[in-house]
Symmetry: C2
Subunit: 194 residues, 2 copies
Amino acid sequence: MRNNESVYQFLEHLNGIQPLGLEAKNAIAGLCTTVRINKNKDLQSIGQTCKTIYFVKEGTARIYYYKDGKEVTEFFAFENDLIIRAESLFASMPSHKAIQAINDTIFIAIPAEQLFLLFDRFHDIERLFRKIVERSYVDTVNRLESLQFNSAVERYNLLLQHSPEVVRKIPLKYIASFLGITQVSLSRIRAATP
Amino acid sequence: MRNNESVYQFLEHLNGIQPLGLEAKNAIAGLCTTVRINKNKDLQSIGQTCKTIYFVKEGTARIYYYKDGKEVTEFFAFENDLIIRAESLFASMPSHKAIQAINDTIFIAIPAEQLFLLFDRFHDIERLFRKIVERSYVDTVNRLESLQFNSAVERYNLLLQHSPEVVRKIPLKYIASFLGITQVSLSRIRAATP
DNA sequence: CTGATTATTTAACATTTGTAAAAGGAATCG
DNA sequence: CGATTCCTTTTACAAATGTTAAATAATCAG
């Protein structure tokens, strides 16, 4: 029952992005399962090909990978956010990235192949998904711009402005690599900004 | 007639991404116009809201903006590439970026609103566009990864590997800011790499 | 072809950011 | 509660990149 309640709320969220007919809603609901992952545990691990589309129902999560033996956090997801390793899912290639729960987190999981099949039957569902991908694309373009020529201080301040919840909820070691800097640098910046 | 020939070839390219019915093809063709822009001239200028979807038919183009009075190149487009200011088009907000022809360039222009209307009548067209946006999204995620923690040398070498045509065809001053570094830095890197 | 403009490289120095190691703080678990 | 572990900050120094200016090199217009 809990699961059904979660999925129902989630569908309402989707309906806000793109109005869906009852049949379409039911079709999506039929594919949704909920997955609970404990703090610091991986939902998807490095080397897997991403075949599932996840949304965060409750909690916080991140995508990370290793660069020269060090962890790099690429992305944070909060309630209702889509979390996928796009470069793997859309190209059907193994990912060198992992998805991890930062706190105890509940995900909604939708098998990608089965969702894509629904696109043929429900135009609305394909439209919904198109809009979701468009949003993710825009977010990524904006982050790219920030990484391209803003200084570390500017990037930190922009993050404070646009996503204060990140700075409140997420360990600084993850935020540092998300901003493309080391933990030491981030500490320096925080010490300098009163 | 020249225009029609261009558009026909372009439709074949689209058909390779997502097979389209004859009616759908004709509907798209009806929206396509070709635009010639001379070298170093802007196709779309800063401050405009992006309401047109462009593809490069012939030539090369870029997206650029100003950061602290200096030009930053965000994106390059070659033959058949989509070139849009996504953060403006998908959010209907004025863009602080411009689209410019690097050489004399022919663009194919599609009015966004009218294309979006076709989505209702032709499922295939919405699917095509979804796939195109997905590809752009994946490209952007990969660039983001490169900017986040690769050194300038690594970013330059990756560009050489993955997009040698960029280094061959595009002025180094544009490439430098595309890589998130200054022209001086790029020169140093090239001098060090024999 | 020549002068003028634009693009690229080089040099010297300043600033930012990284690295490694240590010290403080905070959270966690028995 | 106390000990352990993990997170964050600080310090000192090294490396990478930026800045400004000047020197070449390449391109373009007349």
